[in-house]
Amino acid sequence: MRVLTRLRHALSPLRAVALAYVGLMLLVLLLAPVISPHDPLTQDVANRLQSPGLGTHLLGTDELGRDILSRVVHGARVELLIALGATLLAMVLGTLLGLLGGYFGGLVEVLTMRVLVDVLLAFPPIILVLLAVTLRGPGTATLIVAMGVLFAPTFARIAYGQVISVKRLEYVEAATAFGAPTRTRLLGVILPNISAPLIVQVSLTIATAILLESGLSYLGLGVVPPTPSWGSMVAQGQRYLSSDPHVLLVPGAFVVLTILAFGLVGDALRSGLDPKSRNQR
C-alpha cells in the first residue's frame, strides 16, 4: 500500500516517539486498573507529600498521601476517555453537517453551515462549556457532549470545503450518471476521498480536548472529585508549589507531553496522508 509507505516516510524519530507515547497512553486507558500500583483514592496521611523516588510511591504522594502515579494513570483514563469521546462525537457530527451542507448547497447549506456551525463558532468555547456544566452539572458525559458539540464546527468546515472541491470532479458526476443513490455518493464516493484532512484533525482535536478538559478540571468544572483528573491534580498541587513542586509538576508534565504527542502524530498524518508532500519532516 502506498499510503503506508508514505506514512512511514513521514515518520521522523521525534514523531515515532510521539506515536509510541500515544500508543502507551491508549494502553493505559485500557489497563489502568491493572497497572496502577495503588488505589488512586486510598489516603495515607502518614506518608503525605513524599518526594518521587524508588520505593512504594514512584512519583511520590500528594497532600492526602495518595499515590501520584496511580492518580496519573487513572487520570489519564478519564482524560483520554473524554477527549476521544468528544472528538469522535465532533467528527461524526461535524463531518455529517459538512457533507450535507457542501453537497446540497442552497437551503441545506444555510441550515447546516450558517445556522448551526457559524452560530456555534460565535460562542467563546469556555462559556459554552460553562453553560453546559451549569445546566447539567459537571461529569464525564456532560463534558463529552459539550466538547463534542464545541469541536464539531471545525470538522464541519473542513468537510464542507473538501466536499465543495470534490463534488465537481468527474468521478462524482460519473457516480451520478451511473445511478449511485445520494447516500452512496456521499458516504461511498465523496467521504473516502475527503477523509485524510479529517483524520489529521482528529489527532489535533484530541490534543485540544485534553487541554480544555484539564483547564475545566483545574477550575473545578470538569470531572467531579475525588475521581482523579490531571487538571484537578494541577489545581491541588498549586498550593504546594514551593515546598513540594512534584505534586503539580508530575500531572502538568503529562498534560504537556500528551498534547505534544497528539499534535506531532497529527503532523505526521498530515504529511503522510498528503500525496504531494513526500519526505517532509
Binding site: G106, L169, E170, Y171, E173, A174, A175, P192
Partner: protein
C-alpha cells in the same frame, strides 16, 4: 505572405545551440536523468519544433534553456545563446536573458497571467523592466503591442483583467508581453493546446507573422503534428528523453526515417483519409435517442436565472449508429451529452430514449435512462474514483443500480469487462493511479459497457491522451461497437476522429445545430460557412498542404 524558407542548415552562427544537454532530477543522494544528451540548434529566424508525447522530455529540455526547471533539477551539458554559454551562468545573468533575449509563452495563459492585474499592467511591467521609459510611454507602447498582436480594440482591452478576455485573446496578450522585449528567441510551450481549432489557426498565423517581421527564432514545443506541419522549418522528435530524429519539416513528413516518427505520424488521425466506420445502422427502427425541439438550461438559483446552453435541438440516433457531435468550446456539445445521460433536465421540447419519452425526468424516467444510456468521460484521470480498485469501478454501475449485488458475481463480471477492453483480468485489484492514461480510459470504457447500454455517450474520450494511445483506444472503441452494436453519441472537437468513426455528424455552435448529415456529406460538401471554417482550420500533418491552406486562409 511569402513562403517560409524551408531548408536551413544549422551552422556555427546558430542562435541557440544545445549540445549534450541532460536534465537530472534528484534527491539528496542521487540524480536520475530524465533527458539524455540532447543536442540540436536553432538558427536565427528559424522555427524549430520539439515534438514528443507526454514524458518525452520536450518541455523540460526547453525550460532548461532558461533554467526554469523545477526545484531539485539540474542541467548539464552546454547551452549557448548567440555564442554565450548559459549552463553555469549566474542567476542574475539568467534573469537578464529571460527578460531580454528569450521570451516564453505557456499553454494556459489564464494561469500565466496574474488575475488581479490588468493586461495593461502586465505589459507596462514587462516594458519597463528592460527599457527606461515613463509610465505613459510604456502604456502607449502596450497599446501598440496589443495592436501588433491583432487584439481587437487594443485601447479598451489594455484596461481589462485576464478573466474578461477570451482564451485566444489571453494568448494574444501573452504574446504581446513576450514581444515587449523584442526577444531573439521565443519559446512557445504548447501555445495552442488549450484553444479551439479556429483560434489555434489564428494564433499560429500571428506567431508566424511576428517572426517574419522581427526575424526572431521560435522554439515550439508541441505534441500536435498538425501544428508542427503548420509552423516548423525543422523538427526535433523526442522520445523517452532522447532525440530520435531531426530533420527539415518537409522531409520529416515526406520521408520519416525513424520508426517512432513513422508510428507517430501514422497514429495522427487525418481528415480526408476516409471513414473506417463499419457500423450497421438500422434507420427505420425506433431511434435510441431522439431530441425534438429540445432546449437545455443549467438551473439557476433564486437569485440568478438559469443559463440556456441549448436551443431547439433536433437530433436522432438510430440503433447501431455513431453520431459525431462536433463544435468548439461553448458550443454545447458536452451539454447535450449530459442531457442524454439524464444529468440535466429537458427545459423544453421532447427527449425520448429507446422509444420512451423521458422529458418529464421523473424517477422512473431516470431509471429508464440509466438502464439504456452509459457514458465515457473525457479525462480518465479524474473520472475514476482514486479510492476504488478498478474491479470496483467497472462494476459500480451494476451495484449502484442494484443489478448485481453478489460479491463473487461482481468480481467475475469485472474480469469479463476488463477482458473485453483487453486489460489483464488480474488487474481487478489495482488502483487507477497504477495505470497509464490509455489503460485508465480502457477502464472508463469497461465501466460504460457494464450495463450493456443501448446508447453510449462518449465525451471527448481521447482528447486527454497521447496520439499513439488515442489511436489504440479508438480502435478498441470501434471493435466494441461492432461487437455489441450499441449506438453512440461521440462528442469531440476533432474532425478527423469524427470522420474515422462516425456515420453521421452534427455540427454545433452556441448551443444550436449548424449542420447535420452523414459524415461523408458534411465533411466533403459542407453547406454552412461555419462548417467550412472548422474544416479549414483543422491542422493536417502535411507541411505543403498546410502552407497552401494558410495562404488561402489569409487571402480569404
Amino acid at each position: 505572405m511569402t513562403q517560409p524558407v524551408l531548408e536551413k542548415t544549422p551552422t556555427t552562427t546558430a542562435l541557440l545551440e544545445i549540445s549534450d544537454v541532460s536534465v537530472e532530477f534528484g534527491g539528496p543522494k542521487r540524480f536520475t536523468a530524465v533527458t539524455h544528451g540532447i543536442s540540436f540548434s536553432v538558427a536565427p529566424g528559424e522555427t524549430v519544433a520539439l515534438v514528443g508525447e507526454s514524458g518525452s522530455g520536450k518541455s523540460v529540455t526547453a525550460m532548461a534553456v532558461l533554467d526554469l526547471l523545477p526545484e531539485g533539477a539540474r542541467r548539464t551539458g552546454s547551452i549557448r545563446l548567440a555564442g554565450e554559454e548559459l549552463v553555469g551562468a549566474s542567476e542574475r545573468r539568467m534573469r537578464e536573458v529571460r527578460g531580454n533575449d528569450v521570451a516564453v509563452i505557456f499553454q494556459e495563459p489564464m494561469t500565466a497571467l496574474n488575475p488581479v492585474y490588468t493586461i495593461g499592467h502586465h505589459l507596462v511591467e514587462a516594458i519597463r523592466s528592460h527599457r527606461d521609459v515613463d509610465k505613459a510611454a510604456a502604456r502607449e507602447r502596450a497599446v501598440e503591442l496589443l495592436r501588433q498582436v491583432h487584439m481587437p480594440d487594443p485601447e479598451v482591452k489594455v484596461g481589462h483583467y485576464p478573466h474578461q478576455l477570451s482564451g485566444g485573446q489571453r494568448q494574444r496578450a501573452m504574446i504581446a508581453m513576450a514581444m515587449a522585449s523584442e526577444p531573439q528567441l521565443l519559446i512557445a510551450d504548447e501555445p495552442t493546446t488549450a484553444l479551439d481549432v479556429t483560434v489555434q489557426a489564428e494564433i499560429l498565423d500571428l506567431v508566424r507573422e511576428l517572426q517574419q517581421r522581427t526575424g526572431m527564432s521560435v522554439l515550439v514545443i508541441t505534441h500536435d503534428m498538425g501544428v508542427v506541419a503548420d509552423v516548423a522549418d525543422r523538427v526535433v522528435v523526442m522520445r523517452d528523453g532522447r532525440v530520435v530524429e531531426e530533420a527539415p519539416a518537409v522531409e520529416l513528413f515526406a520521408r520519416p526515417r525513424h520508426e517512432y516518427t513513422r508510428a507517430l505520424l501514422d497514429a495522427v488521425p487525418r481528415l480526408g483519409s476516409g471513414t473506417t466506420s463499419s457500423a450497421v445502422v438500422d434507420r427505420d427502427a425506433t431511434p435510441v435517442l431522439e431530441l425534438s425541439g429540445v432546449a437545455i438550461e443549467y438551473p439557476g438559483s433564486f437569485r440568478r436565472s438559469g443559463f440556456r446552453a441549448g436551443h431547439d435541438l433536433d437530433i436522432r440516433v438510430a440503433p447501431g449508429e455513431i453520431v459525431g457531435l462536433v463544435g468548439e468550446s461553448g458550443s454545447g456539445k458536452s451539454t447535450i451529452g449530459r442531457l442524454a445521460m439524464g444529468l440535466l433536465p429537458v427545459a423544453e421540447g421532447r427527449m425520448s430514449i429507446a422509444g420512451r419519452d423521458v422529458s418529464a425526468g421523473g424517477k422512473a424516467d431516470l431509471r429508464h435512462v440509466r438502464e439504456h444510456v452509459s457514458m465515457v468521460f473525457q479525462d480518465p484521470a479524474s473520472s475514476l474514483d482514486p479510492r476504488r480498485t478498478i474491479g470496483q469501478v467497472v462494476t459500480d454501475p451494476l451495484r449502484w443500480t442494484g443489478k448485481l449485488t453478489d460479491r463473487k458475481a461482481c468480481r467475475l463480471r469485472a474480469e469479463e469487462l476488463l477482458d473485453q477492453v483487453r486489460l489483464p483480468k488480474a488487474w481487478v485489484d489495482r488502483y487507477p493511479h497504477e495505470l497509464s492514461g490509455g489503460q485508465r480510459q480502457r477502464v472508463g470504457i469497461a465501466r460504460a459497457m457494464a450495463t450493456n447500454p443501448r446508447l453510449l455517450v462518449a465525451d471527448e474520450p481521447t482528447s486527454a491522451l497521447d496520439v499513439s494511445v488515442q489511436a489504440a483506444v479508438l480502435d478498441l472503441f470501434s471493435d466494441l461497437q461492432r461487437e455489441f452494436g450499441f449506438s453512440c453519441l461521440f462528442i469531440t472537437h476533432d474532425l478527423s476522429v469524427v470522420e474515422q468513426l462516425a456515420t453521421s455528424v452534427v455540427v454545433l455552435r452556441s448551443g444550436r445545430v449548424v449542420e447535420q448529415g452523414t459524415t461523408a456529406r458534411v465533411l466533403d460538401a459542407p453547406q454552412e460557412d461555419y462548417t467550412r471554417r472548422l474544416i479549414a482550420a483543422a491542422p493536417v500533418p502535411d507541411p505543403e498542404l498546410q502552407a497552401r491552406r494558410r495562404s488561402e486562409r489569409l487571402a480569404g
